[in-house]
């Protein structure tokens, strides 16, 4: 059951296990970090540019840059953990049938692992710089947004 506390001391008293208390703290810490990472991401991809202009070249340029690989991977890991733990709270509250809850969790957790794996592959294990032409590589030198 999700912790209902509004203060750390209450959360500590309500948490059934240390793990549950750790998740409570994680949601606040990761949430605070994600505010900056995600709003920064939205600013860069919707305000600085026209999101309708995003194409393969933009992705390839961005994912060839180590800074954005790290930025995106931290954002991917934190947001998936934050989102999946949030979903766990929701399922614990809203799916009353124990076996339906178990299977919903298994399916969504598996999906999250798959998405994390595919996302990590594209960020860390795929060389997007190969397909880039001369002109785009010059742009790359100026820094990608």
């Amino acid at each position: 059951m999700a912790i209902r506390a509004r203060r750390y001391s209450q959360a500590k008293a309500q948490a059934g296990t240390n793990l549950e208390l750790a998740w409570w703290v994680f949601m606040r810490v990761s949430g605070l970090v994600l505010v900056f990472l995600v709003l920064g991401h939205l600013y860069m991809s919707n305000i600085l540019i026209n999101a309708g202009d995003v194409d393969y070249n933009y992705i390839a340029r961005r994912l060839s840059n180590t800074t954005w690989k790290i930025y995106d991977w931290v954002m991917l890991s934190l947001s998936l953990l934050h989102g999946m733990n949030g979903l766990r709270y929701v399922l614990d509250d809203w799916v009353r049938d124990a076996s339906a809850r178990f299977w919903t969790k298994m399916v969504t957790y598996s999906l999250a692992v798959l998405v994390f794996f595919v996302g990590s592959m594209s960020l860390l294990n795929h060389d997007f710089s190969k397909g880039l032409g001369e002109s785009t590589q010059l742009e790359h030198g100026e820094g990608t947004r």
Binding site: R4, A5, R6, R7, Y8, A11, R28, G31, L32, L34, V35, V38, L39, L42, N46, I47, N50, A51, G52, V54, D55, Y56, N57, I59, A60, L63, L76, S79, L80, G83, M84, G86, L87, V90, L111, A112, V115, V118, G119, M121, S122, H126, F128, G131
Partner: protein
């Protein structure tokens, strides 16, 4: 939990926006990662994504993220300060003021882009 209608709406909208963002996140990561299979694959996906329907949907996602982020900060203030819970209602109105402050300029920037692709302007 906490009594009062604002608190319950804040809680419900936090969950709803959270679920919507998670759903978008899963699709978004797979969609961007599809670039691993080359330009043809991702251009086909972007052709769908750049339709006005999906661009308006993206505005919804941006709004959901903005609300979830600002209300999340409100939750953190409620959890870790002495005055946060006492002022939770005022903080929630503050969330909406900040929401409008960020979201309206974003709309002013993005809506014309969508109208432009539709040929309206």
């Amino acid at each position: 939990m906490y009594r009062g209608r604002e608190g319950q709406w804040a809680f419900f909208l936090h969950r709803l926006s959270g679920i919507a963002i998670l759903l978008y996140l899963l699709i978004h990561v797979l969609n961007i990662s599809a670039a691993m299979w080359g330009p043809q694959v991702s251009e086909r996906l972007f052709a769908i994504e750049h339709t006005p329907f999906f661009r308006v949907g993206l505005l919804g996602v941006i709004g959901a993220v903005l609300y979830h982020a600002l209300n999340g900060l409100r939750i953190i203030l409620m959890d870790f300060t002495g005055w946060g819970v006492r002022l939770q209602r005022e903080l929630w109105y503050g969330v909406w003021v900040l929401f409008a402050l960020f979201f309206v300029p974003a709309l002013i920037k993005i809506v014309p882009e969508i109208l432009h692709t539709m040929g309206v302007i």
